[in-house]
Subunit: 349 residues, 2 copies
């Protein structure tokens, strides 16, 4: 099991729930928009918010942002170690830094001392563009280069007494990402921050992130996840939560299974499945419901659903654990099924 | 390696390219719509089309569909063995059947004889709703029950001389699906048809399918895939192709990596990334391109891209393999970048 690291009011690693994070698209000095974005992400289920800190004004703005938001805040620093110090002093809960572009070990020591003084964790790591030259030369753009480069960065902070370290080894290639995390997971007990970097647009990026992050989580690797998408941050959080649900790491929600329809489908299933998904999204309790195309196969195929509905000719059939129990006319389908969902949720209390 | 099975003019298993399949939403007797749907799926990259065969009229319609389409056709049969025979006689390239609801071994023998006479393969398999009772009682709704039930179905056809068998073990639960395929892959050399069944709507279904199918393909398990979505079949094919690309099983396309943007982003990246993705979708040659937010980190982070563009203040920078080589004014960005993409593709000839 990975080491447990405290970040603000939550933990990463050591068996803590896998935390979802995203990165803000505004600079902290655009305080109003940053706060608005963080609050919206909190609502969507985001556990940690990160933003870049590019100058003093950004660092100072953290104070206000810290006051007006609730989840831990991570300051993302490049090039200037003084901004890491300023971010820590202004209330950041974690620093993400790349020792390779900070300008020497004396600067790392200053940052390390500051982290210790404020009891803050740090994230270090590599992506295919920031592998340290020695490892790139020795191992090429490989999982070993990514992981050894990240471990060297972590060792630098260890050297100056910082032990609360989260590590990432991201690539835009899914196979390389998965291989790098497997490699590093076998060689350290740092909590791991999972992500496929520069994964692309919403459509293709969700697929890449799901495979990469999903395959690792299925294997028990990963303590916090950041889905990376060229899309609004809320889409990253939504995708991350779907990934966690799919691998069984989030249980308090209503799961909707629904069939893909075929020539046996007797009703207009797809819009009803989408409407149902929207309806159940507000409930935070475990329940498995099914929306199926035909009464012949539907109840049997969805026998593991607590509650389901299947289309028939001119009516729909409600069923529980595969057993049909009530016919409902098409025009009453929404009212009846949604009422039954609420009944099931109540009886689970 | 799995056994190689011929289906129409392609192969499944034995090292053949992983085939993408989808299921039609029309009955074959709605011949016009079925043909239209298959042709659209062929265009999207579908390799195999399946449809349900519910009566004689459906079976007879296969003849016309076979004449007007190009990819192998699979007849999905429930309950009535005579429809399997009729489908084979009318030109189906493969039969998908559930021995458990066909009504006894004498019927299986008739289907098996028909398959042998027409040299057709068969798909058998289980999903969480069709596990044979003996295995459900012995092992519960587990990977072992799913896999042993499927293996028993396969053995039935083997008994009557049919060896060209494709097997599936689907569940709507991603973990159960992955576990079942791993279990069965270790115990047989049948080519495996991968899928997460009843995976739900487009949004959540893509995530479930990507994780389940992706994790298995990463491990070398799987010979044909069917993404199951409560959405138009073309979405299933698109998602399947994205999965294959993400795990490196399809290389002849232009891959777009793009950063998720942050407070360092200097331009309106997201719509440009989407426009670029659309532009490159028509090219069938391997090229990696990058659309990045800032000139400071962009070229380095996307150093493995053949060609890239990164935003600066008032201009964009083109780069190749991480090395900037040309400034472009915002208003010329689309024209210049797209021209460079075409140049790169030409020079790869």
């Amino acid at each position: 099991m990975s080491k447990k690291v405290k970040i603000g009011n939550i933990f990463i690693g050591g068996g803590a729930p896998v935390a979802v994070q995203s990165m803000m698209t505004f600079r902290p000095s655009d305080t109003k928009n940053t706060i608005k974005q963080i609050l919206a992400l909190e609502e969507a289920g985001c556990d940690i918010a990160r933003f870049c800190v590019r100058d003093e004004a950004d660092a100072k703005a953290i104070k206000t942002i810290r006051e007006k938001t609730h989840i831990p805040l991570v300051a993302d620093i490049h090039f200037d170690y003084r901004l890491a110090v300023a971010a820590a002093e202004n209330g950041a809960d974690k620093i993400r830094i790349n020792p390779g572009n900070i300008g020497g070990e004396d600067k790392i020591k200053i940052v390390a001392d500051c982290l210790k003084a404020h009891k803050l964790p740090v994230r270090v790591g590599s992506n295919s563009g920031s592998i340290e030259k020695e490892f790139l030369l020795a191992y090429g753009r490989s999982e070993k280069a990514l992981a050894e480069s990240a471990l060297k960065n972590a060792a630098l902070f260890e050297k100056y007494g910082v032990g609360d370290i989260v590590v990432s080894v991201k690539a835009s290639d899914v196979r390389l990402t998965v291989a790098a995390y497997r490699y590093i997971a076998a060689r350290c007990d740092y909590p791991l921050h999972l992500g496929v970097t520069e994964a692309g647009t919403l459509k293709s990026g969700v697929v890449k992130n799901s495979i990469g992050i999903g395959a690792l989580l299925l294997q028990g690797i990963g303590d916090t996840v950041r889905v990376s998408l060229s899309a609004a941050p809320v889409e990253e959080v939504r995708a991350a939560k779907l990934i966690l649900r799919s691998v069984g790491l989030e249980k308090d929600y209503v799961e909707l299974v629904s069939c893909p329809t075929c020539g046996r489908c007797e009703w207009d299933l797809i819009p009803f499945a989408e409407k149902t998904e929207k309806f159940v999204s507000k409930f935070k309790k475990p329940l498995k419901i099914a929306v199926m195309g035909c009464v012949v196969n539907g109840p049997g195929e969805a026998a593991d659903a607590d509650l389901g509905i299947a289309g028939g000719k001119g009516f729909c059939m409600l069923f529980k654990k595969g057993v049909p129990y009530k016919k409902v006319a098409y025009e009453d389908v929404e009212k009846e099924f949604f009422k039954e969902i609420e009944n099931c949720l109540r009886s689970a209390d």
